[in-house]
């Protein structure tokens, strides 16, 4: 059993070692960790902070090959404090799985899960303190007697604490002798079990009293002896004691860790739940104001991810639109040169190109979201044509706003309006035919053909995307043509008008959504009250006793 390596973070460190079975093990030494390890292998550290400093010197030794560690004195090590800290920790844990019965009334309940045979649980604590003392004293004697070493090692099979005691003792000793120690311990174990077949309880009482009152040194080894005897006499298979103990300790450790993990998880769930309710409240509020989803009411939960993404991008586009508008406004007011204004106007055109491109992407995954206008404000949605504005309407609106304007420009605008109207008409008729064909597919045919019918209908529905795309294409071309017909200054004014128009439509929508509705409610209430009165009277008659 040799130390393999050790690392030393600030207040905890891991020691890797190979146990007697040759398995690489790790033991963590920190205030919050119990010691897991085998006889003479696990390392202990002071759990109380007061020992951090002195222990640091010890830890430094650990970074080097283990041999240096062995030369450290154990006198800096106070097992008493260590015991107390671990006791506190054990008590703080939730009740362990009752793997083992028999929790005798204990002066110091160190290990409630200790099995029946270890009646000396209370004694363990007391003996621990004694053991601690003994190891302290023992450490002074260590180099002299192997017997005392054996005594200390005897503590280990009975409790992790004793392991701590003995293991640190081990550290203080020559580690090359660790193997020998282990063998010795086993020998002594068997020896003691053979020699002293005394009942546990009697031993317990004697040892307990002895341990608490006895002076250091002498009584401790004896109590250790007796503890060992008690352990030996009750266990069937002495060879397995060490392994069982180790296993038990590991089980406890694992149970503790899983409890902590469960606690953390539950806390996480609680916080997420709170966050969720808060989010829901926020959404309710936003929905009531008709801002976010345009008051889609019951359909809110069914919004697809593509639609949600598009809504977000549209919201961002609206912010950009606002920025572009103010640029245009300031550009016009500041009487920028034509070149500079051209840059601003072209920027606005590409801004619109961007939204058409976004709509094209969204149409691929959720055409219904676009065509029903759930992304737009309510007023816009009311006058929606094929998932957006109607180009001819826009031009009609603009012709009144655009002056001065040349004859040629007037003709250009007129023909633009004319051609956009024709194109709109053509697309509308195409969509009508799609609608009719869909009706025929869904309505007609026997029910038996259900799936076939649906497949055909699905195929027809997929044409919707094409229509929305063509409509957007029409809008885009209209804006580009406007830009071509008009001068830079006219175009700037024109786009400003367009932007303001839709901004006003959106403002109208939000005003409408947030308008007070008491007038409506009072009418309802008056109707209600009359009926209520009629209702109340009969009920009062029915229940005269009331």
């Amino acid at each position: 059993m040799a130390f393999i390596s050790a690392t030393c973070p600030d207040s905890s460190f891991f020691l890797e070692y190979k146990d007697e079975n040759g398995l690489l093990r790790k033991s963590c030494m920190a205030a919050s960790h119990r010691v897991v390890g085998d006889t003479g292998l696990s390392d202990s550290g002071p759990s109380s902070s007061t020992h951090h400093v002195p222990y640091a010197t010890v830890l430094h030794g650990i970074n080097a090959p283990s041999t240096s560690f062995l030369h450290q004195e154990g006198s800096t090590f106070d097992f008493g404090e260590l015991e107390e800290a671990i006791t506190r920790q054990v008590r703080n844990d939730e009740a362990q799985a009752p793997l083992f019965t028999g929790r005798p009334a204990a002066t110091l309940e160190m290990f409630p899960s200790w099995p029946m045979r270890y009646h000396q649980t209370p004694r363990v604590g007391s003996s621990k303190s004694a053991g601690g003392e003994s190891t302290d004293s023992g450490s002074q004697m260590n180099t002299t007697t192997l017997a005392s070493k054996g005594d200390q090692t005897q503590l280990e099979p009975e409790s992790p604490m004793s392991k701590i005691a003995s293991s640190s003792n081990h550290h203080h000793q020559q580690h090359q002798a660790l193997d020998q120690n282990h063998l010795q311990f086993q020998q002594q174990n068997q020896q003691l079990q053979k020699d002293m077949p005394i009942s546990d309880t009697s031993r317990a009482t004697t040892v307990a009293t002895g341990a608490t009152e006895a002076s250091k040194g002498q009584s401790a080894p004896k109590s250790n002896h007796e503890k060992r005897k008690g352990a030996g006499s009750t266990s069937e298979n002495k060879q397995l004691d060490a392994k069982t103990l180790r296993r038990l300790a590991q089980n406890r450790e694992a149970a503790r860790k899983s409890r902590l993990r469960k606690k953390a998880y539950v806390q996480q769930l609680e916080s997420s739940r709170i966050k969720l309710t808060q989010l829901e409240q926020d959404l309710q509020r936003a929905r009531a104001q008709g801002l976010l989803m345009g008051g889609c009411g019951g359909g809110f939960g069914n919004i697809s991810s593509a639609a949600a993404i598009f809504d977000m991008e549209y919201a961002r586009w609206l912010e950009d639109d606002h920025r572009h508008m103010s640029e245009l406004r300031t550009g016009l007011q500041a009487h920028l040169s034509d070149n500079d204004l051209r840059i601003v106007v072209d920027g606005y055109i590409s801004h619109y190109d961007e939204i058409f491109q976004l709509k094209g992407v969204a149409a691929k995954s959720d055409v219904f979201h676009l065509i029903t206008g759930m992304w737009a404000s309510q007023a816009e949605r009311c006058f929606l044509w094929m998932g957006g504005f109607r180009p001819s309407d826009l031009i009609k609106m603009l012709t009144q706003q655009l002056d001065p304007i040349t004859e040629q420009q007037v003709m250009g605008i007129c023909s633009l309006q004319h051609s956009s109207q024709q194109a709109e008409e053509a697309l509308t008729q195409g969509l009508d035919q799609l609608h009719q064909s869909l009706i025929d597919t869904i309505a007609g045919g026997p029910v038996v053909d259900g799936m076939q019918q649906m497949a055909v209908a699905l195929g027809k529905l997929s044409n919707l995307e094409g229509f929305v795309r063509q409509a957007d294409n029409l809008r885009q071309q209209t804006l580009h043509q406007l830009r071509r017909i008009l001068t830079v200054r006219q175009a700037a004014r024109c786009f400003l008008v367009i932007g303001e128009y839709y901004g006003r439509l959106r403002a109208l929508s939000s005003l409408w959504a947030s308008r007070p509705r008491e007038s409506m409610m009072s009418d309802d209430n008056s109707c209600q009250t009359t009926t209520d009165l009629q209702m109340v009277q009969p009920s009062q008659n029915h229940f005269p006793s009331f």
Partner: protein, 130 residues
Amino acid sequence: MQYQTEHYQAESWGYYMPMRSMHMADPLERVGRLVSKSAVVIFSVSSCCMCHALKRLFCGMGVNPTVYELDQDPRGKEIERALMRLLGSSSAVPVVFVGGKLIGAMDRVMASHINGSLVPLLKEAGALWL
């Protein structure tokens, strides 16, 4: 609007072409032949709604296009494939030829109409008289 079916007759190619090779004529050549026959030629599929929209567009302008319904043509599939290659897109129809020249699919037709280039082309081809 005139709906025409292909007449399988010997063409005046300058040399004798057996009936069989007529059937194996390059579909693109067929297309070329067809579009040169009329001022405005639309290749369409009878069940396609976008094709219907395109037809309505030309009719609304007062144009009388020649429509070839590829689903009603025995060799329509070949023409469809050839048109797909020509357009470089996955859908062959609807597609418009004016004066023997390719205008394009629906989006190009609409763009050219909006920017005012379609009507002069139609007038040039003799499809529109103002």
